[in-house]
Each structure stands twice: as C-alpha cells, then as structure tokens.
C-alpha cells in the first residue's frame, strides 16, 4: 500500500490532482482510493486531498498520517503547518516552489524535489495551476507511474488548448526531475 498526501488551498485543484493520480493508478491495474478533506470549506482555506493505493481494493477510510509521498501545491502552507508531518523515513516530497526556497531539516533518506510547477503552468496553460506539472514530477521522482499513462489520463480529462498545455506541463515536470536525477541529485535535503 502506498499513501500520498496533497497539501493545497481550496480552489487550487488538489482534488483534480488526486483524481488524475487515481486514474493513472487505476489504468495500471491498481485499486486507488482518492478523497478530499476540507477544512473551512472556503476557497483559499488550507485543505488536503489524499490517494491511498493498493493491489487490492482499499478498505482503510481514515485520513493519511504517515504518507509515503507528499505533494505540496502551495508552499505558503509550510509557514504555519508541518506539511512533512509523519512522512516516511524514505519518503519523497514534491514541492511547487522556487529552487532557492528554504526547506526544513529532513531525515537522511527522505528526498525533496522543488519543482517550478507554477512557472511551467504559466508558460503552458497561462494560469498558475501547477498540478499537472507536479504529477509529472511525481512520476519521475517516485517511479510509481508511467509517463505515457499520465499523459493519456490528462488527455482524457482536458479538452482543446487546456489539453495541449497540461500534457506539456506533465512532460516538463517529469523532465525537470529526470534531469535533476541525471545530474546525480537524488533530491535536495534541507
């Protein structure tokens, strides 16, 4: 079983991110359970979305406290809240942020990839919605999902210009992390 916790603000597309990850796992023959947890139920309020995935149907219905992977859609959430809480000792975090951003001290085997997902999104979609770039980055960083499969899922989800832009964003997010790994950087440690 793998568990993914997504940190975002309501309206930033975290549920879509969880859904796209879920569809991708589903297409690879797994049983994902993707679900949101709303805080104040207002746009801009901190919220979580989760994906729990296994080779059998998922029965566990609680929120995720010890994730294998964390995706931080909005890094401003890191100011007031420990988004890394419970992250597994060998867990991976994907952060939508600027390369020089400050990171907390992490455990030896934990890895962090800071991805300029908003810049990638602005360039390709025209809006700072970094979700699809983050999913591409997630695939490259974790090896959990195949790039072609994610592209197929994104293609199915969006239409017209948004489709094109989001597919490109997935690719660029993927490439960004791939290049980091090629350069021998197996993720930054704070």
């Amino acid at each position: 079983m793998k568990e993914i916790r997504i940190h975002a603000r309501a309206g930033q597309g975290a549920i879509t991110t969880a859904a796209l990850l879920g569809f991708s796992y589903f297409n690879e023959g797994k049983y994902p359970y993707a679900f949101p947890n709303f805080g104040a139920a207002r746009m801009g309020a901190p919220m979580n979305a989760f994906v729990r995935v296994d080779t059998d149907p998922v029965r566990l219905r609680s929120q995720i406290y010890e994730p294998d992977y964390v995706i931080i859609v909005d890094p401003t959430l890191m100011r007031g809240y420990n988004c890394f809480s419970g992250l597994k000792d060998d867990g991976v975090a994907i952060i939508n942020g600027k390369e020089d951003m400050e990171l907390p001290k992490l455990k030896a085997k934990q890895r962090v990839f800071v991805v300029p997902a908003n810049e990638i999104a602005l360039k390709n979609i025209g809006r700072p919605l970094g979700n699809t770039a983050l999913i591409g980055a997630f695939a490259a960083a974790t090896g959990e999902l195949k790039l072609d499969n994610i592209i197929a899922v994104v293609k199915n989800r969006f239409k017209g210009k948004a489709q094109e832009g989001n597919i490109q964003a997935v690719k660029e997010g993927f490439e960004f992390v791939k290049n980091k790994l090629k350069a021998g950087l197996s993720g930054r440690q704070g």
Binding site: A19, G22, P57, V58, R61, Q63
Partner: protein
C-alpha cells in the same frame, strides 16, 4: 464496467439506469454532487425524467411523494438538516406506503453547524417506517440502490427505502466501482407497475384522516411488513447475485472473523473497512477479534445479531451517532437482542466515535479493543480532546 469514479457520480449513474420518472432534490453538502449530476443528465437528455427544482427539502420530499402517488418511480437525496426539514413528509411517504428511494449522504446535525460525516441524520429518522441500509463502500452504495427499488416496489412490501452512505468518505471518495450495465439493470429491476395510484379515471384517496378506529392498524401493518421483509431481503439478494455476480448474502449483517472471536466490534457503514484492517492485523498476531457489520438497520435484524454474537464473550458497539441522555442507538439494539436470552456476551460495551467528521483512525479502533475489558462501559467517547472540555465563562 469497472470505472474509477467518485461515489456521488456512481450513484447518479445507477439512478439514471433505474429511469425514475420524477427526481426532486434541494442541494446540501455532501449530497450535492449526486443531484447536480442527475440534473445535468436530464438537461443533456441522457435521462428522460422530470427534474423538479424546488425551494426546500420539504418540497423535494413532497414532490417525490406526489410523483410516487401518481404511479411513477421517483428519487431524491439529501443530508443532515435537509433530511430533518423533510421529516414530516418522510413519515407521510411511509404511511402512504409509497416506494420512494432516497440517498442519505450521512452528515452531522447542527448546532454547532458541521458539514462533515457522522450518522446522526438518518439514525434520528429510524422510526419513520423506512428501510435503512448502510453501505461500506461505493460498490455497495451503487448496488444497494438497485436492491432498494426492488425491495420498495415489491408488492409484499410497498415501503420506502433510504440508502445511507457516509458523506465525503464515500460521496466524495473516488474508487473502483463496477457500474451495472443497463441491460442487466432492466433484467433485475423491471419497470415499475404501481399497485395503486392517483388517477382521475379511477379516483382513490391517499393519506386521508384515520381516526382512532383506524389509525393503529396502519402502524401495525407497517410493523408486520417490516418484520416479514427481513426474509425477503435474502431472496432479492440471491437474484441480484445471479444477475450481477456480487453476493450480499442475507443483506442484514456481515460476519467478519466472528466465528471463534473473543472480542467483536459491531459497527455500520464505511468505518467497517477500517475495522477490518485492524481485525486482520490483530488476527495475524493471534488475537481472536472480529467485526459484525450491520447492513440493514431498519428493520433491525435481531435474530441474526443474536446468532452471530451469542458465543462471543465481549462485544463493543461502535456508534457514529448519539441518543443524548440515553444509550447510543446501535448499542440499544444489541443489548435488546440479548435481553432475557440464555446465551450472549458477558460484556456489551458501547463506544461513540467519529462525530462531526472526527477522523476514525486505525488507532481509534485499537483503542476500542483496548477499552473493551471485563468492565462494561456505556457511550464511552473515543478520541475526545480533554483540553476542549474545560469550561470558561466571563465573570
């Protein structure tokens, strides 16, 4: 076909397949996605149904009452305050023996206002004369709607059915669901032919005044039907299995590792998935624990509960609702099932968890097993925050 789909959308898909003539609802979180999707299907002409927009849940319930009385299949869905606003019509629908099917996306009750999940809403309407079934996952939630129409429209029954699914956890949860094909739905659920209807050609009256000479028999009749229906459920379940290949046995309870169990939790709805995880974990360590899942809460399956738990020494009843000032709702039934009987648990403790969306974790379930000792407890709250219980008032 197997799909990865949001619970609410899966429900809309299956309701579409049942082809209701009238749908009416008023949006309320966490039910909203279901009726939004249905409204869209009607607007897109994918579903030939009258979607009646109304100004309140009271009217939504009244519209489906009227539609059903006029002889067509109907559907509505609501949650929490919406269900309470429907309440007097909910009782009327059962009293008039109308086979209405409703989804209750379970949510806590105000005040304080809370949009998150518990089961206080539907449980508070347990005496209305509706069947109540509780789904553990979205596959069940989908399948139970088909079974609900078959049961409600059965000429031996003619009573409404409420399909209860945990708000957010199931309604907003996306998972793999096998959405039944139209052809199979038609095979299992034929078009509705009413026993009686409002018809100007052959006028009848419905829901009229019953004075003390008549009223009691109407209640007695519903009570008798409820009792008899416990037996009909397994027949319907068998037919369902024959068409769809999913076996819900007698549809009353699910026994999970109860046979030789020394400690069993009794619970209802999606939390049972979490409990099964803990049961497996404990069993792997040699601990004899199990789960008895209540599927049908009304009518309550006393005889099945008795059979399942008669040799279990310790039982913990986990309620996601309270009856303030009294024993918790499911706990009452479990205790009643054993009163005056020779066999039964030595300890039947009652726990309350998950109110207003307080997350029920693996640790919460471990805590229930830990607190299930020789000392019986009643309405013991799990995961309370003591720091929030300090009272502070001004001078």
């Amino acid at each position: 076909m197997k799909e990865f789909v949001e619970g609410s959308h899966a429900i809309a898909e299956i309701i579409k397949a049942t082809q209701p003539g009238v749908i009416s609802a008023y949006p309320i979180t966490p039910q909203t996605h279901i009726v939004e999707d249905l409204a869209q299907m009607v607007a897109n002409k994918e579903l030939n149904s009258q979607f009646v927009n109304v100004e309140s849940e009271h009217s939504a319930a009244s519209v489906v009452l009227g539609g059903s009385a006029a002889g067509v299949r109907v559907y509505t869905a609501t949650s929490s305050q919406g269900l309470f606003y429907m309440q007097e019509v909910v009782f009327n629908i059962a009293g008039m023996r109308l086979p209405v099917v409703m989804t209750c996306a379970n949510r806590a009750i105000s005040a304080p206002i809370n949009i998150w999940n518990d089961q206080q809403d539907s449980i508070s309407l347990r005496d209305a004369g509706w069947f109540q079934v509780y789904a553990e996952d979205n596959q069940e939630a989908v399948d139970f709607h088909l079974i609900a129409y078959r049961l409600a429209e059965d000429k031996r029954v003619m009573l409404p059915v409420m399909v209860c699914m945990d708000g957010f956890i199931l309604t907003h949860g996306m998972e793999t669901v096998d959405i039944p094909e139209q052809e199979k739905v038609n095979k299992f659920l034929p078009a509705y032919k009413p026993l009686y209807k409002l018809d100007t050609a052959e006028p009848i009256s419905m829901g009229l005044l019953a004075d003390p000479d008549y009223y009691m028999e109407t209640r007695f009749a519903i009570q008798e039907t409820m009792k008899e229906s416990i037996g009909y459920l397994s027949g319907i379940s068998k037919e369902f299995n024959a068409v769809f290949g999913r076996d819900y046995k007698d549809l009353l309870v699910e026994e999970y590792q109860t046979k030789d169990a020394e400690k069993v939790i009794v619970a209802m709805g999606s939390v049972c998935g979490t409990i099964k995880e803990v049961v497996d974990e404990q069993r792997a360590k040699g601990k004899k624990v199990g789960l008895l899942r209540i599927i049908t809460y009304r009518p309550f399956p006393y005889a099945r509960v008795y059979e399942a738990l008669k040799n279990v020494p310790k039982v913990a009843v986990l309620d996601k609702a309270v009856s303030l000032g009294a024993y918790a709702p499911i706990a009452v039934e479990i205790k009643a099932a054993f009163y005056g009987k020779k066999k039964g648990p030595k300890v039947a403790s009652s726990f309350v968890a998950g109110l207003g969306g307080r997350d029920i974790t693996l640790e919460s379930i471990h805590e229930v097993f830990r607190r299930l000792t020789v000392k019986e407890v009643n309405s013991d709250f799990i995961d309370l925050k003591p720091e929030l219980l300090k009272e502070e008032y001004g001078e």
